[in-house]
Symmetry: C2
Subunit: 354 residues, 2 copies
């Protein structure tokens, strides 16, 4: 590894034990990502007896990996308050590798609450940011958008939401390449007084900030697919509900199509002609291609892969991590937030409101 680190700076730390079918899916996915990013190196954390037999089946990957044994594992039912005290889990060790500078990002398919808690404790929140958020890049009709928070913060106040807008703006500029991202707050109506109080306050803050964010008002969930916003801001509970509703419905429609084709003789004749179209739509909506939620607002990049994804999905999460490391994403967020006077923003806004 010494040699690897000296010739190359792009190192990703991997929690090999997180997710439903770990470490197999993790290693298979990593092999795909390594092929796509020949300059990337990996440090794998996990149970030697379980990881090594599989890693040995991928000699090309093994060549760009260092393995570090972890005696323990974070389980899905473990509480964040417990896991932050255990430094011997593969998840803790993988995150700690970023703090120590051994790696620039960490990817895990494990317990989201634990991943956020350990990341916050070990990597620390960027100064001025009150709450880190979980962000994903998602598809709409004409391109992509970022949505946050997707579940890190069950309850949010107006300041938290305004901070999410600022971080989302930066992410959309750097990860989507949008020059002036259009920002919207997720709500149940577009009229000013619709929805919850903290959303009204956040709207006021974002509108009146000196940062000249391109604030477009409230967005209702059914408008999201039209691509009218590049950044969609919500508290973690609402964002998670919207995300999972979108995922579930996309899957339902695909299943209904499959079921119906299976039962129809005519459809089976037409199917070969339609295959291209079906694949195109399936690809646009395929959750695996949008795998890899980012924990932003931390001094280090943590990427969360879906626990139930397959090798392709896992590789997308790793590719995302690599892309953001190449763009020096964490340093950019830190620099830009540095320029913003968040405290003043919120004091002013509250002063005006009351």
């Amino acid at each position: 590894m010494e040699q690897v680190l000296s010739t190359n700076n792009l190192v990703i730390s991997i929690d090999a034990m997180g997710g439903d079918n770990s470490p197999r899916i993790v290693i298979e996915g990593l092999a795909l990502a390594a092929k796509k990013n020949p300059d990337a190196r990996f440090i794998l954390f996990g149970d030697e007896a379980k990881v090594m037999p599989i890693l040995n089946q991928f000699p090309a990957l093994k060549n760009v990996c260092e393995f570090r044994h972890a005696t323990e594992v974070v389980h899905n039912e473990d509480k964040p308050s417990q896991v932050i005290r255990n430094r011997n889990t593969s998840m803790y060790m993988a995150i700690d590798a970023v703090r120590k500078g051994d790696a620039q990002a960490i990817v895990s398919a494990g317990n989201t609450g634990a991943l956020m808690a350990i990341s916050k404790m070990v990597l620390k929140t960027i100064q001025k940011i009150h709450r880190p958020a979980i962000v994903s890049i998602m598809p709409h009709r004409h391109g992509k958008y970022v949505m946050l928070d997707l579940g890190a913060n069950t309850e949010c106040n107006a300041i938290n939401l305004a901070e999410f807008a600022i971080m989302g703006d930066i992410l959309a500029r750097h990860a989507l390449g949008v020059e002036k991202p259009r920002i919207a707050l997720l709500n149940i109506g577009t009229e000013e007084m619709k929805g919850r109080e903290e959303i009204h306050q956040a709207a006021h803050m974002i509108k009146n900030s000196r940062m000249s964010l391109d604030y477009r008002g409230y967005i209702e969930p059914h408008e999201i697919p039209d691509g009218v916003a590049d950044v969609i801001v919500a508290d973690g509970f609402t964002g998670n509900i919207a995300l999972k509703s979108i995922e579930g419905t996309a899957r339902l429609v695909v299943r209904l199509l499959k079921d119906a084709v299976g039962k129809s003789f005519f459809a089976k004749i037409g199917m070969p002609f339609m295959l291209g179209v079906m694949l195109k739509v399936k690809k646009t909506m395929d959750p695996r291609l949008y795998n890899g939620a980012m924990l932003v607002g931390l001094n280090g990049l943590t990427v969360k892969s879906h626990g139930g994804t397959d090798a392709l999905g896992y590789s997308v999460a790793v590719n995302n991590a690599i892309m953001l490391v190449r763009q020096n994403f964490v340093a950019t967020i830190r620099e830009e937030v540095e320029k913003v006077d968040l405290d003043e923003l919120s004091q002013e806004a509250f002063y005006e409101l009351y």
Copy 2:
């Protein structure tokens, strides 16, 4: 009308002015509903100059309608606090017809907040119920489920959620014909401590109630299409977010398919064979066929049609109202809630919790 009322008991009150393309869509939809329900009679409230020219084009409908002139209209931007004071709007008059016993249900495609506020004030909430809720019947893979609240109550406490579970249970038995409805609370995880505090408390109340509800725990939005619950309970903000996310995604997938077919020569050849399948899926997901949300918990039935629906969608809302009147739905809710000791239930549950 006197004659109509004396020969028939099934009378629906109609706010002819609500919705995006009223009164045309309303009258066209009503004509469809009247054809399907030859024993139903209608009282139309609206602006005579706008309603009568259109109604005159539908002589069969006109035969089973009484028209009552309303000088004013509730607009989409009107605040509930204002509209409840104006007794001259078509919406107010249409609801008041149910209070007076002229009709058994009222259908409107107008401003939801206003409809709820006037309905609450005029029809009054059923004794023991703290908050009425908006309910819809929705499709899953193997059938239908009811979901509430869809937007009446932006903030809810545990007692409100427990009451929604009880009303949803009754609705699922009577409108879906499920003998023992499976009830689930919408949440962002299935573990006991996931999500918000009021959800945990509601779970405790529902589980420990003496009503022997078939409580199945938390449900995440992506599990809804699998049909694992017949009643899904949420606060109005969360329910509305989930509902609109589902609607938006279903529409996105259909549009992506259309766009892709339009661009593909091969797909156009295959399309005639696939038409049946496409139509079947479209029909399963068609929001028009699930139009007509019910306001439950009131001494009278108010049905809200989507403001942007077409004649077919509007007729479905009216058909829903007629179906529930035939089943004596309001009296059933009142009787069943009468049997439940809601106050005791909540006191007990809170006592156990703290």
